[in-house]
């Protein structure tokens, strides 16, 4: 079985357990405050890490290339409240342009 299929199976089972725990088992009781805080903050840590690693990571190396230009442009576009499509298009175009002139 390929790695992608193994991950798919584990994530399907695990994600469904998380999704259904409230409706099937816990009911509408509220989570402990500490746990709720961790749950609220976890995505910010992981998404920031994913943004950075997918920009400058290449296996076990840090590589600074045209992707960095794309990320900066994406940040500027988001700051200017651009919609998602525009953010992606501008980031890709900036990266392609940086490659062209490099």
């Amino acid at each position: 079985m390929s790695a992608a299929t193994s991950v798919l199976i584990i994530m399907t089972v695990g994600t469904y357990a998380l999704k259904s725990a409230g409706p099937l088992v816990l009911g509408d009781r509220s989570l402990p405050v500490r746990m709720q805080q961790v749950v609220d903050l976890l995505p910010a840590a992981l998404l920031a890490a994913l943004a950075i690693v997918s920009t400058v990571g290449d296996g076990e190396q840090i590589v600074l290339d045209a992707r960095l230009v794309g990320l900066v442009v994406a940040g500027l576009a988001l700051w200017r409240r651009a919609p998602f499509v525009l953010v992606i298009v501008l980031a890709s175009a900036a990266t392609a342009f940086a490659r062209l002139v490099a």
């Binding site: 994530m11 840590a45 690693v53 990320l71």
Partner: protein, 214 residues
């Protein structure tokens, strides 16, 4: 949502998944940012464990959504079991915005089913269009679409100082670990950014003025 599905389909194709795997993620896991994270880590040569755990950590919030929506999703166990698959940000946001329990349930189901349809359809389109793209990916700068998408997902969360501290701590932890840890592990380790943000800086609440980073 639709363009995000296309970006996911493209990312799955670039990471070497086949069409069934790509659609499997979108239909069975059905959690946008977690699918993205897993595919990114696999594409970078990360282990099964690191990809799966990073993905699941991004879905822990579904647990919180579940207890919020539980009362509105009452009924026979098989109905609750089926409706639970739609437990995502959008369905919870639409459902929880309604007062009446019946409308909460209705909003949750309509938003959940709508996103499910669009998400899976656009995953297929994104995969089909970019599966044989090869050099086109780098020529068009599409390898920057992933980073841009992660940043776009992160952006709306950065409204509070605690979220910003967590994001900065998570990013720095991951960056520091890239040269020394196997692919995927820096992403996983970023979860400790939550702990760092809880203790630093020690004075609460922090002034939002000196926290603004961009």
């Amino acid at each position: 949502m639709a363009p995000f599905g296309i970006v996911f389909g493209a990312a799955a194709a670039t990471a070497g998944l086949n069409m069934w795997q790509a659609v499997g993620y979108s239909a069975l896991v059905f959690g946008g940012s977690s699918q993205f994270a897993a595919v990114e880590i696999l594409g970078d040569g990360g282990s099964v464990a690191s990809a799966a755990i990073a993905g699941l950590l991004l879905n822990v919030r579904s647990l919180a959504f579940g207890v919020i929506m539980a009362r509105a999703l009452a009924g026979p166990w098989w109905q609750r079991a089926a409706m639970s698959q739609l437990m995502i940000d959008e369905s919870t946001a639409v459902g929880a915005a309604q007062e009446d329990l019946r409308w909460r349930r209705y909003g949750y189901l309509v938003a959940g089913l709508g996103v499910f349809g669009v998400w899976n359809l656009t995953t297929v389109i994104g995969f089909a269009v970019f599966s044989d793209a090869g050099d086109l990916i780098t020529d068009l700068g599409l390898d920057a679409a992933g980073p841009a998408a992660f940043l776009a997902l992160l952006w709306p969360r950065l409204v509070s100082p605690a979220q910003r501290r967590t994001a900065i701590a998570g990013a720095l932890i991951a960056l520091a670990l890239i040269p020394v840890a196997p692919p995927g592990v820096p992403i996983l380790a970023s979860m400790f950014g939550v702990a760092v943000a809880a203790v630093w800086p020690p004075t609460e609440p922090a002034s939002p003025v000196d926290e603004v980073s961009s």
